[in-house]
């Protein structure tokens, strides 16, 4: 059995920042990442990120990911297991991992869960046909594998992911027939929406998909305008020819390990589903288990990185590291998070966190 001071589960922006900050205070850290390449969502984000300088705003996600991975790889206090999946966390604190095709046991003193989130699916007739993709899959095909996913795509969802993946499809030379969304307003950043409208990709709010059709694979879809009551308006159907339908209809936190570990959970819609209840330093109700990033509420890479830093510092401090500096670092991270969530785009997160606080009692 391998022993380690801090086990970080997931090598996305949250996990990498958690490992780097804990290691910088002297803690020995193991990152376990299920993918071949660490970086989480960042490995396929070819666009520039928002936020401020401290969260590398203006840099492309892929570069931020590479930089974090390099920093972690160059840190003698950090070990990274690639292509290894954490399977379970047991009551006695033992964690099992599928590593180098073996079932391996790890006994960490502290655990930081940074498993991120998974894409939601959408129910409609024909959604089981080849050609119906999650936006993440399309992005991975294009930007990681360099494979053209389709010739003409219908994008469902006008959040940041739908808007950005539509833009990246256009960059890759794929035609985007339209971006549709059921509600009347765009929920992604308007600058992204304006950017794709300029590129002649129409955004149709108040539209939903009725069904996909095709002979064994997607050949088109019928969409329809919806009324105030969100119900389809008869006679307002539009036939869209396309060879792929891309779903960008939200993410749900990947919390299985938190459930298993016995963390207190709550359903908080503003945080996108069931999330572990954490305190101000991101410790769950199970002592020694921390959470950071999308797993405790779907948000952004910018906040995931700051949360990672906060969880890393907190876990290291609980092991006795960084006694002088840690409290200052925690305060700084908490302040950065407040600033990021301060505006109207942070409304739902603030609401969600208020519910989280209520659930702590």
């Amino acid at each position: 059995m391998k022993t380690i001071e801090i086990l970080v589960i997931g090598g996305g922006p949250a996990g990498l920042c958690a490992a780097i900050s804990a290691a910088s205070l002297g803690a020995k850290v193991l990152i376990v990442e299920r993918d071949e390449i660490p970086g989480g969502q960042l490995v396929k984000q070819t666009h520039k990120f928002f936020g401020s300088e401290k969260q590398y705003a203006g840099d492309r996600g892929i570069h931020i990911g590479q930089m974090l991975v390099e920093n972690a790889q160059n840190d003698p206090n950090i070990e990274i297991w690639h292509a290894s999946t954490v399977l379970s966390i047991y009551e006695d604190g033992v964690v099992t991992v599928e590593h180098e095709e073996k079932h391996t046991k790890v006994k960490p003193e502290k655990i930081i869960v940074a498993t991120g989130a998974a894409e939601n699916f959408l129910g409609f007739p024909g959604n089981d046909m080849p050609g119906v993709y999650g936006a993440g899959a399309v992005q991975t095909l294009m930007n990681v594998a360099g494979v053209m996913p389709a010739k003409r795509v219908l994008m469902i969802g006008a959040g940041n992911i739908g808007l950005i993946v539509a833009y990246q499809l256009k960059q890759a030379g794929v035609e985007v027939a339209a971006v549709i969304r059921r509600s009347p307003v765009i929920d992604g950043y308007l600058v992204h929406a304006s950017k794709i409208q300029r590129a002649a990709i129409p955004i149709l709010t108040r539209h939903t998909i009725l069904h996909a059709y095709g002979d064994g694979k997607v050949e088109g879809a019928v969409i329809v305008k919806v009324g105030e009551d969100k119900k389809p308006i008869p006679g307002q159907e539009i036939d869209i020819k396309c060879d792929a339908i891309c779903l960008a209809v939200g993410l749900s936190p990947l919390t299985e390990l938190c459930w298993q570990a016995g963390c207190k959970m709550a359903y908080i819609s503003e945080l996108s589903g069931h999330v572990p209840i954490v305190d101000d330093n991101l410790e769950t109700t199970v002592k020694g288990i921390y959470c950071a990033g999308d797993v405790s509420g779907v948000e952004e890479a910018s906040s995931a990185m700051v949360e990672g830093r906060l969880a890393g510092v907190s876990a290291a401090l609980s092991l006795g590291y960084g006694k002088g500096a840690a409290i200052g670092l925690q305060k700084e991270a908490q302040k950065e998070l407040r600033q990021l969530r301060d505006g109207p785009m942070g409304n739902h997160i603030r609401k969600g966190l208020a519910k989280m606080e209520h659930n702590r009692l």
Binding site: V191, K195, P344
Partner: protein, 160 residues
């Protein structure tokens, strides 16, 4: 409305358009960013302090057109591709519009490209007069095109 389809309308643009008097003085920035989002690279990009966010990172960028000299440095720094520079003094009948660009192929100086408005509607064919690389890491190009004066506030995209 902008919120329904992402296309800025006259009432939105009125908030970010300099006066005719300022436009007559030389190149100037147009920041078409209308929503309070947590983002501030434009503030850091402008060394002249023409873009500020007094209330913090979620502010809508506040532009001082008198401090801006239209240097265009901020264009490629904006992750939203929301910043343009317009120079109505470029020639008697043509204005220069500087547009951020992240597609392939990258046009060359002298080439004609299709100019598009904010809804992606084609407005005509215009000459590329300058091409600036954002650099290896930044990768956003700034393309200057010459357009008829009356289209200076309309053309916001190009198709090569």
């Amino acid at each position: 409305m902008l919120l329904n389809d992402g296309i800025p309308r006259a009432e939105d643009l009125a908030k970010v358009t300099p006066t005719d008097e300022r436009l007559k003085k030389g190149p100037v920035v147009i920041v078409e960013c209308f929503q309070e989002i947590p983002c501030d690279p434009c503030v850091k990009a402008c060394k002249r302090g023409a873009i500020t966010m007094p209330g913090g990172i979620n502010d809508i960028p506040l532009v001082d057109f008198d401090l801006c000299n239209g240097c265009s440095l901020c264009i490629s720094m904006c992750p939203g591709l929301a910043i343009f520079v317009v120079d109505k003094t470029w020639s008697e009948d043509r204005a220069r519009v500087l547009i951020p660009y992240e597609y392939l192929p990258v046009p060359e100086v002298g080439q004609s490209v299709t100019g598009m408005d904010r809804a992606g509607k084609e407005l005509g064919s215009f000459e590329v007069v300058k091409v600036n690389s954002g650099g290896k890491k930044n990768k956003t190009w700034t393309i200057s095109i010459a357009v008829p004066q009356e289209l200076a506030m309309e053309v916001r995209g190009i198709n090569v």
